[in-house]
Structure formats: structure tokens, C-alpha cells
């Protein structure tokens, strides 16, 4: 009998699998219970939950069994990816992510005691509309935040669609909130990273001069520049966005320091925007002396940057070195700060970025704005370029940081600059 009774352990094995199943369920319940419970079909959420922008403009209303969206058509399109839809097509959408908060779900009582709740976002819906209209039919993203508080004021992504009348097969990228969920070749905006590393690791950087004859040979490869810039100091090199100069700087800074700065400045990791994960970027270390290292230092090679990470970085520069972690939920001030740069380096970077505007982009392009910026024209290999324009206003009464990306949009200043101007003008005035 002992032979048989010992084999009875097989039933215990199955019992263990059942317990494993129970634990799996428990885990999923903790992880996703809020989302399940806030499914629109859940009739136990009585009352109405409203998702609004910072000024109380309704972005979505949930009452038992149905969702309605903003009244204004363009607002619906401009805020589509931030809000999400009832089918859950956008995983990072507020309807999905703050579902528990909206339905009043908690683990102890589920939604049995719930009357529904209102949730306000930091977003300014009218600003989103301006940004959306400025992007027009070009795919891209606009992010604007207040770098003194971390509040995100504008976050729009194109192409978009009307959640009230969704298409079965929308244009590619519609389901992506590109500001937080995409990672794109950064082009020259990445020179802001290389420069910060150079300031900290090359004591004589301000005394250097770089000569640009239109191209430079590195590691047996030719790196072309956008023009022939002649002899420039480091200010001129950034303002001209000179590839020849930064190809050399990247070599001097070296692969280790460059990688350290890409990591330290938050470009290679995923961040959490009120619990919503953002896309991580990429920086591949190339060996010293190779052209790849130079390309990496000027934002090409395998470099990828999420616009959200860029927003964090320029916010830190504007805010004296530390960034307030950007937030989309409006529940009082956020105070989570991360130091990215020393205050001296931040101050120097601010000077560089202001110099870009005064000496190259032209203050007239941004009338009335105390803007510090960097453009980027990122070659993506198919002959087109992503247009980037990022920076901040050095203005205590208008402390705004911004990132504009137009995919396959051409020149950074030409394509993305005017969008930044339009949105910032709307915000300041």
C-alpha cells in the first residue's frame, strides 16, 4: 500500500497548482482590479465620474454603462491619446490608468461603496487644441510643462482620431501617445547631452576653438556638417550645431562619460508619470576613435530619445539643475525632484541655449519670449529627418519647458520652431 499512498502526492501537486492559480489571480486582482472594476459595463459604479482639464473643462464623463467625451470636436482629437478610449486602445490613457481613481475602486470594498469620483488633470485643453492645430496633418508630438511645478500643461500627439466616433483602422501611430511612448532619433538636440558632459569633464572647454571645413574624417569615416562654419568657440559650435566640432568633442569626452551622462540625465530609462510608464531611450556605447562614437555624440548612430525624457532634461536646465518630475494628475504641488546637473552646469547650459536663439535662431522668430532652445534635425535613414525643437522660457513669471517633434518634418527650426512659438505665445499671452 505504501507504494500507492506515496503516489497520492500527485493530488497535492494539483492542489499546489490550484494555489498557484489563486495567487496568480490575487496578483492580477491587485495589479488590474481597478481597471476591471472601472470597465464601463460595471453597473456597480453608481453616479458619475468626470475627468477634467486644469480649468474644469470636461474631457470624459463616465456614468454607468457609457462614456462620453469632451463637447468640442477638436478638443476630443487633441486630447485623445492622453485620455484614451473605452476600448482601452491606448494603454497609457488616463481612462485606463486612473480608472480605479475614477470608479472609486479600492481593494477592500471594490466599487460597492463607490459613487464615482472626479479627477482633474494638469492639462490645459485649449493649449492642446492650439498644439494640435499647429501640428496639422503632420505626425508628431508637443509637450509643455511648468518646470517650477512639474505640471504638464500640454501633451498632444498626431495623428489622432475622435474617440466618440472611432475608426476600426486608424492611421498608423494613432494609438500612441508619442510624447511619452515613443523613442526617436534625437539628432542635434542630443548635443545638449554631449555639451553638459564636456562642460563637466573638459576644464578648458571655453578656451577651445573648432575649425569646420564642412566635413571631418574620424576613424576612417567622413562626418558631414550642415555647412562650413570656419573657426568657432564652443558657443558658436552649439549655435551652429556644428557636427565637425561635436564629433571631436564626443571623442574627447569619450564613450564612458557620454554613456554616463545619457544615463544620468535620464535618457535611457523609463520614467513614471503619475504611475504611467514612459518609453526608455537608447544609447549604445561605441569605441573611442571610431566614427560611431562621434555620430552618437551628435544624436545619430543608435541614439533614441523619448520626448518626455527631453522635457525632463530641459526642465532641469531651466530649474537650475534639478527637475520636478512631470505630473499629469492635478492633486496639489508635486515635490519629487531629481537633480540632473550641478547648478553651475545648468546655468552654463542656459547661457548656451539662450545664445543659440540670440545668435542663430533669431529673437524675432519668438517675439516677446525669453526663450532658450536647441533645434534638431535627425536623419532617420530614409532621406527624411525628424524635426525637433526643445527648450524653455527663462522667465520667472512664465517658467515653461517644451519639446516639439515633427516626424519626417524636415529642419528642426523650420518645422518644429513655429509650432513651439505658437503654443508658447498662446500660453504666455
Amino acid at each position: 500500500m505504501k507504494t500507492v499512498t506515496r503516489r497520492a502526492g500527485f493530488a497535492i501537486l494539483i492542489a499546489m497548482l490550484v494555489i498557484l492559480g489563486i495567487l496568480t489571480y490575487g496578483f492580477r486582482y491587485i495589479q488590474d482590479g481597478a481597471n476591471w472594476a472601472s470597465f464601463f459595463g460595471n453597473e456597480n459604479v453608481t453616479g458619475t465620474s468626470v475627468l477634467t482639464d486644469r480649468y474644469g473643462v470636461t474631457l470624459a464623463t463616465m456614468s454607468s454603462g457609457s462614456i462620453t467625451y469632451a463637447d468640442d470636436y477638436t478638443t476630443r482629437l487633441a486630447c485623445y491619446q492622453v485620455i484614451g478610449d473605452k476600448s482601452g486602445n491606448i494603454g497609457t490613457g488616463a481612462l485606463t490608468h486612473f480608472a480605479g481613481r475614477l470608479s472609486g475602486f479600492n481593494y477592500l470594498y471594490g466599487t460597492t461603496n463607490s459613487k464615482g469620483k472626479n479627477v482633474s488633470l494638469t492639462l490645459d485643453a485649449s493649449l492642446n487644441v492650439r498644439a494640435y492645430e499647429a501640428l496639422g496633418d503632420r505626425p508628431g508630438a508637443v509637450l509643455v510643462s511648468n518646470y517650477r511645478t512639474g505640471e504638464i500643461l500640454c501633451m498632444t500627439s498626431t495623428p489622432s482620431q475622435d474617440p466618440a466616433d472611432p475608426s476600426d483602422s486608424p492611421a498608423e501611430g494613432t494609438y500612441l501617445n508619442k510624447g511619452i511612448s515613443s523613442a526617436l532619433t534625437p539628432g542635434s538636440t542630443f548635443k545638449l547631452v554631449t555639451l553638459a558632459a564636456a562642460i563637466d569633464t573638459m576644464p578648458d572647454i571655453y578656451n577651445r576653438s573648432y575649425t569646420c571645413s564642412g566635413s571631418i574624417d574620424i576613424g576612417g569615416d567622413t562626418i558631414n556638417c550642415t555647412g562650413v562654419h570656419g573657426t568657432q568657440d564652443i558657443y558658436g559650435a552649439l549655435a551652429n550645431s556644428c557636427n565637425c566640432a561635436f564629433a571631436q568633442i564626443a571623442q574627447e569626452v569619450g564613450p564612458n562619460a557620454l554613456e554616463t551622462y545619457a544615463d544620468k540625465l535620464g535618457f535611457t530609462e523609463s520614467h513614471s508619470m503619475n504611475g504611467i510608464p514612459t518609453a526608455a531611450g537608447r544609447f549604445d556605447k561605441a569605441s573611442k576613435g571610431s566614427s560611431f562614437l562621434s555620430w552618437a555624440g551628435i544624436g545619430q548612430y543608435n541614439d533614441l530619445v523619448c520626448p518626455y525624457s527631453m522635457l525632463r532634461y530641459v526642465s532641469a536646465i531651466g530649474n537650475g539643475g534639478s527637475t520636478l518630475e512631470p505630473a499629469i494628475l492635478k492633486h496639489g504641488a508635486t515635490d519629487r525632484q531629481t537633480s540632473l546637473l550641478s547648478s553651475e552646469t545648468a546655468e552654463a547650459m542656459k547661457g548656451f541655449m539662450r545664445n543659440n536663439v540670440t545668435n542663430n535662431y533669431g529673437t524675432g522668430t519668438f517675439p516677446g519670449l525669453q526663450i532658450c532652445a536647441k533645434s534638431g534635425t535627425a536623419e532617420v535613414g530614409d532621406g527624411t529627418s525628424h524635426a525637433w525643437f526643445t527648450g524653455f522660457l527663462d522667465d520667472p513669471s512664465h517658467p515653461y519647458a517644451f519639446v516639439v517633434v515633427v516626424e519626417h518634418g524636415g529642419g528642426g527650426l523650420a518645422a518644429a520652431g513655429p509650432i513651439a512659438n505658437t503654443v508658447l505665445q498662446a500660453l504666455v499671452n
Partner: protein
Amino acid sequence: MEEMVRIVVDASKYVLPFLSLWILIRCVRSMLREKYEPEIWGYILDGRNKTTYPLTHWENMLGRTRNADVHLTNRSVQRVHGVLIRDDNGKWKIFDTFSRGRIAVNGKQVQPDGSPIKSGDSLAIGNEPLVFAEISSAKHAQLESRRTRAGRNVGPGLTLFGLTVFQSFLLLQHTLSAKDEHINNVILGFVALILIEWFCYFLMRSIRRNGFEVEILAFFLTTLGLSVVATSTPEDIFKEIILIVMGIVLFFMVGWWLRDLERSKKYRLSVAIVALIFLILNLLVSRVTNGAKNWILLGGFSIQPSEIVKVAYIYVGAATLDRLFQKRNLIVFIGFSAICVMALALMGDFGTALIFFATFLVISFMRSGSFATVALAITGAGLAGFLVLSIKPYIAQRFATWGHAWQDIYGAGYQQTRAMSAAASGGMFGKGAGSGWLKDIVAANTDMVFGVICEENGLLIALCALLAIVVLAFFAVRSAQHGRSSYYVIAACATVSMLMVQMSLNVFGSMDILPFTGVTFPFVSKGGTSLLSCWMLLAFVKASDTRKGASFVVKPAQEEEG
């Protein structure tokens, strides 16, 4: 007054989970924590080294392996040498396992079909001389009086009283939420269930049986099932009560039948043939429900033959120790299993086929002890599974939805997403019996009962329901250590495994952790034949419970002596 009732009902939402936990803990203490001493049926005396081996089972294996019940160390003894078996009537027989002709009783070689042996006979195993001694009835009575009586420290009466309080509170919640025209039915239904369980309890006490935990766990689950019926289809509550009564009557009948091991063994072949006829009949005259052809309409009642065949399958699959060492027996059983599983696959009843297959693995492992057999069976089934998936797109679709229910909330994921949503919305304590919305979704009271219970009664009670079956499994395994016959041990372990697999497919299927196969939650899901088969299966668990004075299926030793 109205106000008072409201307060009591609100409070009851928090009382019920703790009450069900209390019931569960009492059952655990009594079934798994109390002393469980072996029965002793005889001795093997070794005159050479003055050793006495007690025979604690009806079936005892003699050999040199460490797992032998009579573990002999003499080099002339085979690893598995012989099997010593006592039958219902107290007659002993010895079998030469592999007929090597190396066992002698009183100097005479043992026959291939076994030789009778009685107290005082000398027994030679290899060249090891032994003496066999039956236990005297006086000695047996003396030993029996020292064994712990079931329920001595944790009285089943009090546990059942706790269950009655649980049912009363649940009923109270229903009276507030039920529609006026159904209130009387619901009250009558619950009162009937309470009367039934107390009737069973006093019936058991009247025949001096005190092990009632298995039944209490089943009644606890049945209560939840009744609650689900009361909330989803209150007009069917009488039908449900009738089915419960029928189930319990069948439980007693199967239990009574299993009391006699010789009789049980004798009819295995007949039962197997009847089971196959049932399945073939089902294949010929079946009605399609949800893509599965597993219903027969018989005189106005729809019955699911596969549910009855479940009981037959275990009845046929279990075997006594003497047969375990004969390869031929296992091969016949494998053939029978293959036909059953194939018939179910042809019907498109994929869930039940899976349950049968899992049970097959348990039985074949317990019979052969070989992981190789199990591995081979799983490989074979995997290949057959691919075949089924390629010819039955309806099943393939269920697999496609598995893990992606939320991506198809209006299609294949409709039921799961509703079940998950409702389940989460109930939190720990639920919304109150009868107050949910999931009950109105198609198949809520069968495939999605877990969701309904989570929503209305809360996650804590739903977990207690899952654990009730798991506790039953641990009890069956514990009882196995003191089982009289491997027939009962295998049957009980196969039963609890079957119940666990079925429950897992139901619960985790509706929660999108496993494929959604539409099988029932034992005792809880509404569904005629399923409820009947669950109660019948329970008799196998009772048959393995050899605690003193515990189970009506197990004859006390004195009864046979006379």
C-alpha cells in the same frame, strides 16, 4: 424595524466571510490536524530476528523495497515480492506478484491466482520464514478503543450550526434583494437546504457515524450554489432543491455500494461498458449547446451523460493492489480512457475532455508509479490536442482569446471581461446576495459563478469556496496513508484531483488565467447532472475515510466479525 433589518444585513456582509472562514478552519482542524491512527488487521512474525510487522491495510505488499508494507531485508526477497490481501469478509489471500514461484504457504507453492492463508500459517518469502497471524477480535477491539474517534475534539454539530447561521444571514440578504414574487420561493429553498443537511447529520448520528466534515464542505459549496440560483434564476429554486436531494440520495447509494469492496470490484467491467454506451448514445443523439454537443433530452430533462461517466470513470479506473502489478490491466484502462477522451473531443466538450485527461494522469500515475507513463501520456495528448485544434476552429478560437479577453470585449472575451469586472467590483465583502448585475449575463450561474460570488458575496467567501475543495484534497491524501484498499485510495485521490481540475478550469477560465472552456464549478454551478455527479463523486472520498466511526461507507471492524 425596517432600519434594524437594514443594519443587520449590512453587518452580515462582514460577518459572512468570517463565518465561512470559521467553518473552513474547523473542518481543517478536524480533518487535517486531529490524530489519525492506523487500523491494524494482522501481523507478520519473523521468528529469526524476532520482529513483528503489523498489517495496517487490507492490501499489503511484501518485498525488499523501502516502500514495501512489510519491508524484508533478506537478499532472497524480491523488491516487490508478494501481496497479502484481506477481503471484505476477513478472508486473507496471498499473491505471488510476478509469479516467480518463490512464495510458499505451509510449504506449498502459491498459485498464480493466489492462495488462501489463515492465522498461524507459516509463510516463506524467498528463503525468509515467516508466520502470519490474524488479529483477534478482542485485540482488535482493544486497539480500536484507543483510536481517536472522528470529531471528538471538533464536533461537526457545532460546525454545521455555524453553517446554518451562515445560511440564515445569506437568506436575510436575499429577502431584501429578491423580487416580491420570488421571496417565498427563496425562503423555502434555503429552509429546505437547512432541513436537508440536518436530516443528513442526524441520520449519520443515528448510525453512530461522526465524520461529517466532507459533507459540511459540500453543503457549504451547495449553499453558495443555491445563492447563485436564488439571484440568477429564482424561479428554478425548487428544481435546484430537488436536484440537491437527488444528489444526496445518490451519494448515499454510491456510498452504500462502495462499502462492499468485492461487489465494487466485480461490477467494474459492467460499469465500463455502460459508460461507453452512454457516451456513444450521446454522440448519436446529442443537442448542440454553445458549440458542444453534450446534452441529451430525456423525458423533458436535459442530461449530460459525460457527467455521469465521470463517476463511472473513477469507479472503473481505481484498482486493488494485486492488479496494479499486472501491466495488462493498465493497458485496458488506457484504452478505456482514450475512448472516453476521444468521444468528448468529438462532442466538442473540450473542458470535460481535459478533466478526464487530468484524472487519467492521476489514476495512471497512482497505478503505475511511473513518471514516464505520465510524460508519454502528456506528449500523446499534446499531439492529439493539435489535431483537435486544427479540426475544431471553435476551440482554437477560445485559445486565441485566452489571455486577451480585454481585447475582444464584445466577442469571445465578452463573458470573461464581465466576470472579471463584476468580481473586482465586489471587493472583499461583496455587494450583498442578490444585488449584483453579473447574474443577468448568459451562463452567469454556471460558467461564471466565481464572478457572481465575488461580486455579491465578496472575494473572501469565494476564496473559501476554492479552499474547501483544496482541503478536501489534502484530506483525501491524508486518508490515503491509512486506506484499507488501494481501490479506495486511488478513487479518492482521483476524485479530489478531478474536482480541483474542474474547479480550476471554471474559475481561472472565467478570470482569463486559463482558457475559457465552460465547465462547472463543483457543487456551486447550477446544472442538473453536474450537481448529481459531484455528490456521487463525494462518496469516493467518504470511502477512503478510515477514521474511527467517521464514514458510513467504511464498515467498522466488529460488523464484519459477526
